[in-house]
Subunit: 342 residues, 2 copies
DNA sequence: GTGAAAGCGCTAACAC
DNA sequence: GTGTTAGCGCTTTCAC
């Protein structure tokens, strides 16, 4: 009523929250000084620093990282794409990655790609849109479209959990084929005559199966193989043994593509009155927390997930800092953990 | 050399990537038209739409969500804070949340707070800085500082997995105390005389223990209780039974604060030659995927994680759209799944 | 050590 | 249906 021609756009936009200008005004300094006090405290005088800190805490100011990221071209975000967070396999890698990046002031944006390529494609756009400072991928098998986009976007990429002749950018992993080979040799050494294999139908599990089957083939053994849909569950393990025994009753050892699967298999074996490993030996993959404590303790393949996470973080922080990261590819290997079940 | 006083700041900033202006130029339209073609395709003419699409795909343009979020005050990001991604307990909630929000065009930023309040505090600032459109918390127990910040930041907050007399904002969960009460009643009904309890030392597990112990107390039963550090592992379950039997050899039933714990307990019991449930009954909590397939099948408490995730998403999208979300609190209850182990 | 000006890439508001 | 203008909140650049 009493207002006279207030500019119509006075209250047009803005989040309504506290901004760096509010803090600056209260502290009696300029916005840029507040920015410096927060990001490079060493470059402002102690007195100024104190005034700014006071203003920050009394206003409850929390810097807008969207604005900061836009202006500085540093989003402080690293994206990690995993097939699924349900499985306990990748979580150690993610945890280590998250921890290492937190020290560098970065947060991890976790994306679930599912085991289907199509979903990964959609995710990748959403992820690139956030302008992360790095993208960590699980596996080296991606659609051509994904590879093209990732290579073109200029963001440091780290593939993990596998090796590749043609990495997109950087890589830390190990050879799944060699895992299969090593387990086949182990079981032969132990004297098993009719080893089989149960795998989830994902790419890396298939590589392990191939190494396993080929190695046995070379010894004249034709290993029966059963597949279950990824992600493989405990139930799948129980069912898989049932199917396996139907088609090949005399199996004396089974290499499973995950510890969970192996656990299901053991449970089914025991439910049928078998003794493990006397009647049937079982080996897993992953060396999850429970593997050592199963009864019998599970023979499995140990993979150092945290090291992959830390190396991925290193690759990215080195690149961001302009440091020479050294070799862009790292094979961290694996080890067979010989316990009671095989 | 031949340059004459080129403005020194010519190549000053910028990501060097494709921007909306590059696309606009190529398509022969203005930037805002490109923006509309991408965000509200219905508002531009079919011809324009096609030109823009062509320019987008030929340049490989991916919109910068940092810039878009800053300008529109819509980050298209929702933060979810869980104690840990290691445990399989919350993942279904997160998956459902992620799925429901993806439909609304939002991504989920997952934060691991750990079971310690201090870590949650630090995370909260980092999260608020991204200006998410909602924050989903696990549990209702937060430090005073966290509560203050969350309440003050103006972002819709959803607490999950518990009830509260004093929610910060919105809430979807169930009563852990009632879970303890219900399980105590169930075991009494089944005729168990010396029920015990093994819990992780986190807040919600303690509530369940309290309901359980109090209910038994009222029946004149003094239930032995063993605690293990959170997050409880399979190994903890095995050890817990050992400790329990040391202090109270005659226990005939154990309620565990998680299925994983229960599984460890059963394994230890079997390793000691006990029959479950004949010699000792075991009940879990969570109804994880493997619970039904254990041998014996695990009696446990079923909680609808996905529904909590979907409800949390609804709360947030309703609020964002300015819709009336109805009641701000929702108790989704739980159910005891009676199987073989108890 | 501090500040003024400019602009990151996008979209809200308004005009045509 | 499309364009112009003016910011969103921050940091870079340059000047003092």
């Amino acid at each position: 009523m009493s207002e006279t021609k207030t500019p119509r756009r006075a209250a047009r936009r803005g989040s309504g929250g506290v901004t760096i200008n509010d803090v600056a005004k209260l502290a009696g300094v300029s916005a840029i000084t507040v920015s410096r006090a927060l990001n490079q405290p060493a470059t402002v005088s102690p007195l100024t620093l104190e005034k700014v800190k006071g203003a920050v805490s009394s206003t409850g100011y929390v810097p807008n990282l969207l604005a900061g990221g836009l202006a500085s071209n540093r989003s402080r975000l690293v994206a990690a794409l995993v097939p699924t967070i349900v499985g306990p396999v990748f979580v150690q890698t993610i945890e280590a990655l998250t921890g290492a990046l937190a020290e560098a002031g970065c947060q991890v944006l976790l994306g679930q790609s599912g085991y289907a390529d199509s979903r990964e494609d959609a995710l990748i756009d959403a992820v690139i849109g956030r302008r992360p400072e790095g993208i960590v991928l699980t596996g080296t098998s991606h659609s051509a479209e994904s590879r093209r986009k990732l290579a073109a976007c200029g963001i440091p990429i780290v593939e993990t959990w596998d090796l590749s002749q043609t990495p997109i950018d950087m890589l830390v992993g190990f050879s799944h084929t060699e895992v299969g080979v090593a387990m086949a040799k182990h079981l032969i050494e132990r004297g098993y005559k009719r080893p089989a294999i149960v795998t989830a139908d994902d790419h890396r599990a298939s590589l392990r199966r191939q190494g396993y089957v080929d190695t046995l083939q070379a010894q004249g053994i034709d290993a029966p193989a059963v597949q279950v849909p990824a992600p493989a569950t405990f139930r799948d393990g129980r069912d898989a043994l049932a199917r396996l025994l139907e088609q090949t009753p005399k199996v004396d050892a089974v290499f499973c593509s995950s510890d969970v699967l192996a656990h299901g298999l053991i449970t089914e074996a025991m439910a049928r009155g078998f003794k493990v490993p006397r009647d049937i030996a079982v080996a897993g993959f992953g060396d999850l927390a429970f593997a050592a404590d199963l009864h019998p303790a599970l023979t499995t393949v140990h993979v150092d997930g945290p090291t992959m996470g830390r190396q991925a973080a290193r690759f990215i922080t080195d690149r961001a800092a302009g440091r020479d990261p050294g070799p862009k590819m790292r094979d961290i290997g694996f080890s067979i953990v010989k316990r009671d079940s095989a």
